[in-house]
Structure formats: C-alpha cells, structure tokens
Subunit: 183 residues, 2 copies
C-alpha cells in the first residue's frame, strides 16, 4: 500500500480533473488512496504545497511546441498555452492563479513572457510590467470563462457563453500597447 509522492500528486490532479477544487481535500485524497489523511503529510508539508505541485503539473501537462518567431506571436503562443492548460482542468484557472498569487509556483509562464520581451528589446521594467499585465489578463479571462462555463453546466445560470468577450481581442489590446513602445 506504499505510495510515492508522485502517486499522491497524480491522484490529486485526477481528483481535481473529475470533481473540482472542492473535492480536493486531504481527507478525500487519503480515503481514495486507501490511507489516513495524515499520511499525505508524509509527502507534502501542507495543502498549499500540494496545490502548488498540482498547479505545476497542470502547466506541464499543457505544454505545446513553440513555433512563432516574431515576438507578438511568441507572446500569443505563451498566453494561449497557459489559457488552454488551465481550461483543460476543472477549476484549473483558480488553482494556477491562486498558487501564482501566493508566490508558491506557476512562475514558468511569467518568466517566459519576460524573456520574450527582453529578446524583443524591452527594458527590464517594461518587460516586468507587461508580462504581469498579460498574465493577469489570461488569469482573469480564463477564470471568468471557466466560472461561466461551470455555472451553465450546472444549470445555475442561462447566460450564454457567446456573450463572453473574445480572448484574442483583449490580448491584441495589450500587444498593441507594447508595439508602440518597442517600435
């Protein structure tokens, strides 16, 4: 019955996938692994640490090859990968954004955005601001989209999905602001 850290993590991600964040409790995770809740603490020091590992796994799972060469397309590629990775998992946006906000992980996308901007000739402070602005946009948009999607699927609300503003349109708004500064 011995589990490794990776077994516990895999089951945590599966639990999130199938039943959402509210089902991802230490007690439920333990019982589904046939183990006491306290046994999880042998592998993860806290639920926060577990969630950080889950967030990193969500991002790793959503990795896609990079093809674009121009910086605006590179930015779009990173943002789109991040968005799709979060949307691919129940409550994925909530988990990744929370883990990022508390500085516990999920730092990959922002450092990649910063690198793309630095390579495009942006000074460090502009790269820092712009990468975080893009990240906040992707988080906010994905969180809203996911919340609306789930509200509809639960029959709680009949607001149609089409009323949500388009993802790429908002992205272009920020990219255009950047273009003016990097020209």
């Amino acid at each position: 019955m011995a589990h490794r850290r990776s077994d516990v993590l895999a089951h945590a991600v599966a639990l999130l996938d199938t039943h959402g964040l509210s089902a991802l409790t230490m007690r439920r995770l333990g019982s589904e692994l046939g183990v006491q809740p306290s046994a999880i603490y042998h592998h993860f020091a806290s639920k926060q640490e577990l969630l950080a590992a889950v967030a990193d796994e969500i991002l790793a799972r959503g990795a896609r090859p990079r093809t674009a060469v121009a910086w605006p397309d590179r930015l779009r590629e990173v943002c789109t990968e991040l968005r799709l990775a979060m949307l691919a998992c129940t409550d994925g946006a909530d988990v990744v954004a929370t883990v990022w906000a508390f500085g516990l992980g999920a730092a990959g996308p922002v450092s990649e955005l910063e690198k793309v901007l630095a390579d495009a000739g942006a000074p460090a402070d502009l790269a820092a601001v712009a990468s975080r602005t893009l990240l906040h946009y992707v988080f906010g948009h994905a969180f809203e989209e996911q919340t609306a999607r789930q509200a509809v699927s639960l029959g709680a609300v009949d607001r149609p999905l089409e009323s949500l503003p388009d993802f790429d349109l908002g992205l272009d708004l920020v990219v255009d602001g950047l273009r003016a500064r990097l020209a």
Copy 2:
C-alpha cells in the same frame, strides 16, 4: 439584542478590515455579535451572499469624485478608485475579485468603464473586451500587491515592495492599445 441586516454587514466589514478574510466566518461573526451562528442566516441566505454585500460595501466606501473629462483619464480614475478601495481593506482584492468572478456583485466598476468607452465612441464589443481587460489588470495587480504586502508584514518573505511593477505603467499599456483603436 436585535440586529438589523446593516448591523451584521457593518460588523462583517469591520472583521475583514481588522483580521482578514480567514477571520470572517459565520461562527466568529455570530459570537462577536453575541448571537448564534445560525442567526446570521436570518439576514443573509448564505456566506456567499454576505460576501457579495461586503464587496459592494468596500467599493461604496472607496467612492471618489470624478473630475477628468478626457476618456483616458476617466478610465484611469475608475481603475485607481477601484484599486485604492480594494487596498484599503485587508484581503479586499481577494473578496471583490471573487465576488465579481462568481457574478454575485461588484459589477459597478465594469459597467462604468463600459460607459466611458461607449461615450468615447468605442463599439460595444471593444468596450466589453477593454473594460474586462482593465478590470482583470486591476484585480490581478491589487491582489499581488496586497499578498506581497501581507507576506512582508508577516515576516514570511523579505522580497521588497519596490520590486513590484508600477500600477500606472501597466494601465497605460492597455490605454495605449485602446488609443490606437479609437483614434
């Protein structure tokens, strides 16, 4: 010992102000009012409904007069008011952003942003995208700033506040993207 809904709400806000979101529980709120937790449910159907009222109160408390006439300055005014209102209260950004994301309230700022953009001649879809992009930026920035501030004040982290990107700089990025489309 009879309390009105407004008494309960006022104490909930005070509790948030002084001890943060983790202290805002139905049980603690009840005990500080000298009442059973179940008594709160006479005034609010659920904790979510209470939180929505708290978020609206945070925004109402932070209201400031509008002075700008040009639309870019109007946008900045609304975003700055929203930001300061959230920062003025412990975990204010978390509460307001969560309530907004779940469609339970805090809709004032976004509809005001949409109105400013419509008056500036933006088509409805651009106004919708841009207002949400701005909102996501303000939420994300404020949440990060507040989280970092609290981490520092708790001595948990020594990352200095100055390393945070400037609020107005990110705002200008989006405004410039808009300027190109409204010229």
